[in-house]
């Protein structure tokens, strides 16, 4: 049966003459949670003006506050991953690793976590137990404790299974000073291994894509790797874990916050064959795919090799590479020297990466 368009729709559409640009200011879109340009706009236009203070304004992965002479690192993160269980981890271990990593990127020694659970009515108790046990194992392995928590249950249909929030506290050792605005021309860019594994593992599981060997998430706690790196030098400017939005988004943020350019060398960035194959198939660029067990460090050129060696001695940094350098030119931009010797921009995405049509 044909459906009649309402006169209302017909009239409003007929009034249109040309496509006006569509600013994303009226409603929240999925892209606002992507870690790309829309997320940055949301922070700049809504959160910062309302909640403004100098600690927040630094926009690092963690806040560092001074309490009676002790520098505390403080961070929070919510996890809404689907599927809840995936090769290489689950929402529980991911929540522990993610919050530890946000603390570690500020150079902090992580100590205590909170865990809050928002659960949909009807969620299987067995799955909740699996998640909580996995959190326990991840926390124990990392030497942190979950010391407080909260539970809320939503009516059936009002949530999507399970959401987890973790908050973490750690202590920043004397002399450690890391921030995304400290990159300087001449510094080197270090990356702790191959990219894109977490995002592709999740996508493959969610979409039922099968590959010859299952792609495992790289989800891992990075604080001991960070400690090893900080031990060799005081010349590390900044560390970030390239999660949502991938290596590209993280480097774009550093370039913008430090008012520098960053030039990458394409051949030094490692992508495992399975991940590359999946990305080719789906039309995705691994530079924008999430990682949960990798870090990027900006290091003074004089200390870069020493830090690189320290990273390669750690089990989570075996495939570390120097992937580029900080430049004076192209301020706020990340560029890449391609294998062919040409240069292109590595842009920040507006929202999530979308699979291409063909």
């Amino acid at each position: 049966m044909p459906q009649a368009a309402t006169p209302e729709t017909a009239r409003t559409i007929a009034q249109l003459i040309c496509p006006t640009p569509l600013p994303a200011k009226d409603t929240i879109l999925l892209g606002h949670g992507s870690g790309g340009k829309l997320s940055a706009e949301l922070i700049r236009d809504v959160f910062l003006p309302a909640l403004s203070n100098p600690t927040l304004a630094r926009l690092d992965d963690q806040a560092i506050v001074n309490v009676n002479g002790t520098r505390l690192a403080f961070t929070t993160d919510s996890f809404v991953v689907k599927p809840l269980f995936f090769p290489g981890g689950d929402i529980g271990s991911l929540a522990v690793h993610g919050t530890i990593n946000d603390l570690a990127m500020g150079g902090a020694i992580p100590l205590f976590l909170s865990a809050a659970f928002i659960i949909e009515e009807g969620f299987p108790m067995e799955d909740l137990r699996r998640v909580v046990n996995s959190m326990h194992r991840a926390a124990e392995a990392a030497g942190v404790q979950v010391v407080t928590g909260d539970t809320k249950v939503l009516e059936k249909g009002k949530g999507d299974g399970l959401f987890v929030n973790t908050t973490g506290i750690g202590i920043v050792p004397e002399g450690v000073e890391l921030s995304a605005d400290r990159a300087r021309p001449g510094d080197k860019v270090l990356l702790s291994g191959s990219i894109g594994e977490h995002g592709i593992a999740i996508l493959a599981q969610r979409e039922g894509l099968e590959f010859e060997s299952a792609i495992q998430s790289d989800s891992a706690a990075l604080h001991t790797l960070v400690a090893d790196m900080l031990r060799v030098t005081g010349e590390i400017r900044c560390m970030r874990d390239p999660t949502r939005g991938g290596v590209s988004s993280t480097l774009n943020e550093i370039a913008e916050q430090s008012h520098v350019g960053i030039e990458l060398e394409e051949s030094t960035i490692t992508v495992r064959d399975e991940v590359r194959g999946a990305c080719e198939l789906l039309g995705l660029d691994p530079m924008y795919v999430a990682n949960e067990g990798k870090l990027i460090a900006i290091v003074a050129a004089s200390a870069a090799d020493e830090v690189l060696q320290a990273m390669r001695r750690h089990p989570l940094g075996l495939n570390s590479q120097i992937i580029g350098a900080v430049k004076e030119e192209n301020t706020g931009l990340v560029t890449m020297r391609t294998a062919l010797g040409t240069t292109r921009i590595v842009d920040m995405l507006a929202g999530d990466q979308l699979p291409r049509i063909c």
Binding site: P2, Q3, A4, A5, T9, A10, I13, A14, L16, I17, C18, P19, T20, P21, L22, P23, A24, T27, I28, L29, L30, G31, K37, E207, D273, R276, G277, E280, L282, N330, L333, T335, T338, A339, L340, G341, T342, T343, R344, I345, D347, A350, G351, L354, P355, R356, I357, C358
Partner: protein, 365 residues
């Protein structure tokens, strides 16, 4: 990785580039048809490796870009109906219609889902008998067989709640339209490898013959494109006009016959509007009469409307190879991928978006 590394090999690419430099003694204007090829050229900076007066202009082959605004408006209108589930390829969701896009419709409560394959939309129709499932079936000859298969399956199963909003375009009529245009500058074409994988390269013979223009079917990796450019330059320098196939690992003369068969069974050739270019006779596909109950344009009472593009957008000239994106006064200023004013800035594979993402540092300086 096999079939990738050898086609991105820097040594081979540079060797081909220097052979092009040696072979080209005069200025030539070549067009790559497909947006995927434009994307590779920008991403790898292939044009930087070519002689200065060998010009690459970028063709109309981005399926997302050339989908008419009216189709997007219709898709949004359908998606907002409470009993409709609208299923689409992912990169259509961000494309602005005249006042919204599918992402915004989704935020307003529309049930919009991304599919990797149109047969997923058929599955959704099967499992949601109380809903009307509409698949936004767009693309070139590349996506047409899979889209046709979805309609064919739905018909066979009697899934009356499945329909397609079709906006299919064909490459050869677009090349013909470019060639007959008085302002045409293009002297040789790189034909789209994926389209030719389906259709074969045989149907390009007529264009070569009618316009005495060399056409080389090309792949999508840097080595593919450089080799295709070299083949075109050699033909032009020798005063030849032939159909050649660079993408032999995928393209045959006749193409994929079962794919063509299902296309023919489900679709028929029709006049089609291209966003940014306008109407081109016999350049699209529509569902045949036998598939009327799966044709969203006939199942739903949709408002027919005509929307004009902003006057300052030079998309038509860009898509015909008359101008380059940075020639546009609003490029990167008031027209960006976040707020596109015209078709080629819309999708990552559009020419303007490719320049914006990969090149704006050189454009600015």
């Amino acid at each position: 990785m096999k079939y990738l590394d050898e086609y991105r090999d820097a040594r081979i690419a540079r060797a081909l580039a220097s052979e092009i430099v040696e072979s080209a003694t005069q200025p030539w204007v070549l067009m790559e048809i497909c947006g995927g090829q434009t994307h590779t050229i920008m991403r790898y900076g292939i044009d930087e490796l070519l002689p200065r007066d060998l010009e690459l202009v970028h063709g109309p082959g981005c399926p997302v870009c050339v989908t008419p605004l009216e189709t997007i408006d219709k898709a949004i209108e359908l998606a907002l109906r409470p009993d409709v589930i609208l299923v689409s390829y992912g990169d259509m969701l961000r494309v602005p219609g005249s006042r919204s896009d599918l992402f915004r419709a989704k935020a307003q409560g529309a049930d919009v889902r991304i599919a990797y394959s149109p047969t997923e939309a058929v599955k959704i129709a099967r499992s949601h008998p109380g809903h009307k499932v509409v698949f936004l079936a767009i693309g070139f000859e590349t996506t047409a067989p899979a889209n046709a298969m979805a309609a064919w399956q739905a018909k066979r199963e009697g899934l009356t709640n499945f329909s397609m909003l079709v906006s299919h375009v064909l490459v050869p009529p677009a090349i013909r339209a470019l060639m007959v245009s008085a302002s045409n500058r293009v002297q040789g074409f790189i034909a789209p490898g994926h389209v030719c994988t389906v259709m074969g390269c045989g149907e390009y013979e007529a264009l070569v013959r009618d316009f005495r223009v060399p056409i080389v079917v090309g792949g999508f990796e840097p080595v593919d494109l450089l080799e295709a450019i070299l083949m075109l330059v050699k033909q032009l320098e020798a005063g030849e006009a032939k159909l050649e196939n660079q993408y032999v690992r995928s393209v045959s003369y006749l193409g994929n016959l079962p794919a063509q068969q299902i296309m023919n069974e489900v679709f028929e050739v029709a006049d089609q509007k291209w966003r940014g270019i306008g109407a081109i006779p016999q350049s699209g596909l529509r569902l045949r009469e036998e598939y009327a109950i799966h044709d969203a344009n006939r199942v739903f009472d949709l408002v027919e409307l005509t929307v004009n593009e902003p006057a300052e957008c030079i998309a038509a000239q860009v898509l015909q190879g008359l101008k380059k994106p940075p020639d546009c006064p609003v490029f990167g200023m008031r027209c960006t991928p976040e707020n596109p004013l015209g078709a080629p800035m819309v999708s990552a594979e559009g020419a303007c978006a490719a320049y914006y993402h990969y090149r704006r540092h050189t454009v600015a300086s």
